[in-house]
């Protein structure tokens, strides 16, 4: 998996937040649209695109998008 692809996929889970607002160093939990529902979408796309299971707890443990990418990549 590639970081840039991941960021693009990650950004697609948001409806109102523009993709340009989501970069590798974005603290995604601080985004206004971030919610447990968006987290659920992230769980779904990680499972379907990468066939890896990430938990809500793991997502919450990450600050930036890149941190989340690294965590998933290491699985």
């Amino acid at each position: 998996m590639e970081l840039q692809d991941f960021i693009k996929n990650f950004a697609e889970q948001f409806d109102e937040t523009d993709a340009s607002e989501i970069q590798s160093d974005t603290c995604f939990q601080e985004l206004e649209e971030w919610s447990s529902l968006v987290a659920m979408s992230v769980i779904a796309f990680v499972k379907t695109q990468y066939n890896k299971a990430v938990t809500g707890k793991e997502i919450r443990s990450c600050d930036t998008v890149e941190e989340l990418y690294s965590l998933i990549a290491s699985k």
Binding site: S36, L37, A53, T55, R60
Partner: protein, 334 residues
């Protein structure tokens, strides 16, 4: 010998709670966004004194009336519920008497949730093929809303109460094909009401914030949404494949899919992962919510009435959730 679904009816309690009602309690909540995602706009709730047994009775009476069934013809009663009227006796025994079903009938409750319809059909088919019974009444009934904490807006937006009744017999409208079933008890705590049973009989009053930032109350229903989602995405695609193989049918021969109506987002994710076209895939929980063990029966009934399912169709049904438990089979419409 073959086993068939002969009729399906359902009952939804009188009281309706709309999303507008919920938003009055949670004004900070972006209800449209949630509704668009989970696919529920209103749901029915059992009355304070109305139990799962009461609702199952109403679903059964509706079935008897609609299909002109004499309760005396029934020789086995199965009730699926996780909110029984008593610890003992089995609510099915109470219902045998209340419904006027013969005292020479067998009856028992079984405790399952979202997979309950499938397991009921599997057991009913076994009873018929084993020459143990000829007319098996399956009732599914759930009042999950009574297990929900008043501040648990996520689950209150998803779950609705309801009951379904289905007669399985030696002839009927849909032949019941081969089953695939599965269980993963390692996920037991991902969807649980912890207290009130024998393990933790007394309420604890304990609550904590879970890994997704939701409150987890020992004394109320708790669902780890992410874990359930991962479980579903793990097992359902394989389940579909196994059902096809066991029934010796190709995917393109399946005319319609009625899966447990967990929530719209989860169903759409499964649909996309499994490359099933929208027009073959039932999603309708706008006015009922997730009624747990009754969603598949309600969906089948609705799809038959709307002629989304017609004569000679092959229909795949699946259920998955609390347990964790899952299963599915194929129905061949006569």
């Amino acid at each position: 010998m073959k086993a068939y679904i002969k009729g399906i009816s359902y009952y939804l309690p009188e009281r309706v709670v709309t999303n507008d009602d919920l938003v009055r309690e949670f004004p900070e909540w972006s209800v449209e966004k949630v509704a668009a995602k989970v696919g529920v706009y209103s749901r029915h709730l059992a009355a304070k004194e109305e139990t799962a047994g009461d609702m199952a009775e109403k679903a059964a009476r509706s079935l008897f009336q609609e299909y002109n069934i004499d309760p005396k013809e029934i020789d086995f009663l199965l009730l699926c519920t996780q909110s029984p009227d008593y610890f003992l006796p089995s609510t099915s025994c109470v219902l045998q008497h209340r419904l006027g079903i013969s005292s020479t009938s067998g009856a028992f409750d079984y405790n399952l949730g979202c997979s309950g319809c499938i397991y009921g059909l599997a057991v009913a088919k076994g009873l018929i093929m084993g020459n143990i019974a000829k007319n098996v009444l399956i009732l599914t009934s759930e009042t999950y809303n009574k297990y929900l904490h008043p501040t648990d807006k996520s689950n209150r937006s998803i779950f609705g109460d309801g009951a379904a009744a289905c007669l399985v017999s030696t002839e009927g409208l849909a032949e019941i094909g081969e089953f695939v079933l599965g269980t993963d008890g390692s996920g037991a705590e991902d969807l649980i009401v912890k207290t009130g049973g024998s393990r933790h009989k007394e309420q604890t009053g304990v609550s904590e914030i879970d890994e997704e930032g939701h409150a987890r109350y020992d004394d109320y229903l708790y669902m780890n949404g992410g874990a359930i989602f991962n479980f579903t995405l793990e097992v359902v695609p394989t389940l579909i494949q196994q059902i096809l193989e066991k029934n010796q049918v190709r995917k393109d021969e399946i005319d319609y899919y009625v899966f447990h109506q967990a929530n719209k987002f989860m169903l759409n994710t499964i649909r996309k992962v499994c490359a099933i076209s929208k027009d073959k895939f039932y999603i309708n929980m706008e006015e009922t919510g997730n009624t747990v063990s009754s969603t598949v029966m309600i969906g089948l009934k609705d799809a038959l009435e709307k002629e989304l399912i017609t004569s000679a169709n092959q229909v795949m049904i699946t259920g998955f959730g609390v347990g964790l438990s899952y299963g599915g089979c194929i129905l061949r419409i006569e």
